[in-house]
């Protein structure tokens, strides 16, 4: 299968030469695509450093980061949601969407109020056992069925879990963790590799 992978550079070269060979078709030189690609990469590199949240106040953003990392934590195989940039991604979307602002901004407030009611402290002020206790309550729909006062929290957590998964699994480390292979140039599609049972 390795023989099917040819270098991106050589494909770009051969494709753009083919396009130049008197075709009337508007085939775009792929150098242009690569140029855009680098531009974005450079821009991202320049932005590295401390992230300034666009929507969440600093304390809330810390809670958001903590929750994201708890949902998809770093483990022996890969980094977690923070390394994947999930909190930045969620903050950006939220800054642009009043519905998200209500669901997430309000949801984080709900979490802190509920923790204050139960433990006399905000979520970040709770110890690990207390945090686990409240999360175990709002991480499952069935708990809202037995205790209706949890339903807002369950809805909030489910929404945040989806967004965290979006942020993690669209990141470079998330995609690597899954083992996605592709988004490349093949001269031929090899089909399904031989696997017993398939």
């Amino acid at each position: 299968m390795a023989a099917n992978f040819i270098s991106r550079r050589s494909v770009l070269k051969s494709l753009s030469m083919g396009a130049a060979a008197g075709s009337v078709l508007r085939v775009i030189p792929l150098e242009a695509a690569e140029y855009v690609h680098h531009l974005i990469a450079d821009e991202k590199a320049a932005k590295a450093g401390d992230y300034m949240p666009k929507f969440f106040p600093p304390q809330q953003y810390k809670t958001l980061q903590t929750l994201c990392e708890t949902i998809l934590p770093a483990d022996v195989d890969a980094g977690g949601a923070i390394e994947a940039g999930a909190p930045e991604f969620i903050d950006l979307l939220t800054s642009e969407n009043p519905e998200y602002q209500l669901k997430l901004g309000g949801g984080l407030m709900w979490l802190d109020s509920t923790c204050t009611d139960r433990y006399g402290k905000s979520y970040l002020g709770c110890d690990a056992q207390e945090q686990k206790e409240i999360l175990d309550l709002i991480a499952y729909r069935r708990n809202a069925v037995s205790d209706a006062s949890l339903s807002q929290g369950v809805g909030f957590f489910s929404f945040l879990r989806d967004l965290t998964a979006d942020g993690f699994f669209t990141s470079k480390i998330g995609i690597q963790y899954l083992g996605y292979i592709g988004n490349t140039f093949l001269t031929d599609f090899p089909g399904c590799p031989p696997v017993p049972g398939v």
Binding site: F89, T170, F189
Partner: protein, 566 residues
Amino acid sequence: MSQLIPVRKIYDVCIIGSGAGGGTAAKVLTEGGLNVVMLEAGPVLNPEKDFKEHIWPYELPHRGAGVGGGLRYQIGDEFMAPNGFWEIEGEPYTTAPGSTFRWFRSRIEGGRTNHWGRIALRFGPADFKARSTDGMGDDWPITYDELAPYYDKVESFIGVFGSKENVPNSPDGVFLPPPKARCTETIIKKACDQLKITCIPSRLAILTQPLNGRAACHYCAQCGRGCMTASNFSSSQVMIPVAQATGRFTLIANAMAREIVLGKSGRVEAVSYIDKTIRSENRVYAKAVVVAASACESARLLLNSRSTSFSNGLANSSGVVGRYLTDSVGNDLAGYFPQLEKMPAHNHDGVGGMHLYMPWWRFGRKNDFLRGYHIEFGGGRDMPGVGSFGGVCARNEGYGVSLKQKCRSSYGTVIGFSGRGEMIPNEKSFCELDPNVVDQWGIPVLRFHWEWGENELKMADDMHETFRSIIEAGGGTVLSNPFPVQRPRISEGGAIIHELGTVRMGNDPKSSALNKYCQAHDVRNLFVADAAPFVTNADKNPTLTIMALSWRTSEYLIDQARKGEI
């Protein structure tokens, strides 16, 4: 001193719309020697700037989810080729009370051929003979044999892969070799063999070999983003450049056609359009007009072109314009296939679409419903994207390393099935002008009326049961909806984006607007070249037939022009 009279430029043909139908007409008419002007309601396509091929999600700030997450769980994300929309700001449409209808429109050079699934299926002989076959609907005024040579021409020019199979009423075409099956497809093929469901290489307008100066596919699975190497078919990259090369083609972009102007002779002589860039009206003159704005948009334009001769809309003495609106019957179901968890990491991309599909395999048998459907399916180790893990998160809930691992082990294990079936036209499904609403250009908008018939509902149920049996035969389990919401039994009207039939053709001017050449019965220099002329909405996606019909209409138009008839 003699007065200077400005010379009015008169083109041979004005084409309205640059998609599958308009693009094909532009190619054939200009190559046939005619001078053509084309009006396109959106901007010119600029692949370099507009296409996001090979970009990773993490290279975009919104990861593909769009501003404010507006594109999460939508049909298209940020990566999709530009300017295809469910809603266009300033260009609304309405639905009658009790009706739901969705209308996907595109405003860009090439229209929806920039976004389509590239599924290129011929209609079969029986699809042109619906009424003769089962007594419902109507026959086309042409037969399969009359259209077949044009299917040949289109396929030879645009490139379609497939295989010769002799499936009844799903004719073979001029095919490039099909790509090899993916793992997911191998599993489903085996299940279908067990169930005696025909499962064969799909037929997509994607090049597996170089053709007419276009490079072969490089298997990145991103056709929907637009292809920089034009290895898949879009009108913007395949038809329009050819027309431009003749030197007889003028494209006017950002031009929203408002009215087709009838001259004193009873023929159309001009098209009035709004130049969107300066919000003012302009007019272009031509000896013939080809309307190819998409079925409903074309009906809207005719209905808005009223005159003393045609108080109900141009070429609408029959009253059928806007009527006979159909869409494909849709139903979806997904399954989880545990054997895919053991699959080693490998490149699963392939072309931007399925490599295998199931044509209607029960043709000619006694079924619970009339007509048929085909099955499309996909899934597996696709590039992860926003929304890819919503299902696994909802099913597993919780958080932590166990959730992370569950996401990984379930990655690539889901295969989704979609049925696409034939709807029989009914009196309750149509579009008309809304008497109270205009768009931002002052043009009255469409109001949709929609109701599925009993036949369609039965067909959707049958799809569902078929999907279930395929999933189970393949060793999978049906993924149940984790939320207490009922799965809709059938897709919403318009949602499959195969809306058509609104300016139908026929031999009888009392029950059809166009003759067998898609020429208006009422106005001989007016033609329609999109899916509006279709008499049936067979279980085959309409685009290939749009192109074959448009090619045929264009050749007829050239012939008429040579004879001095136009």
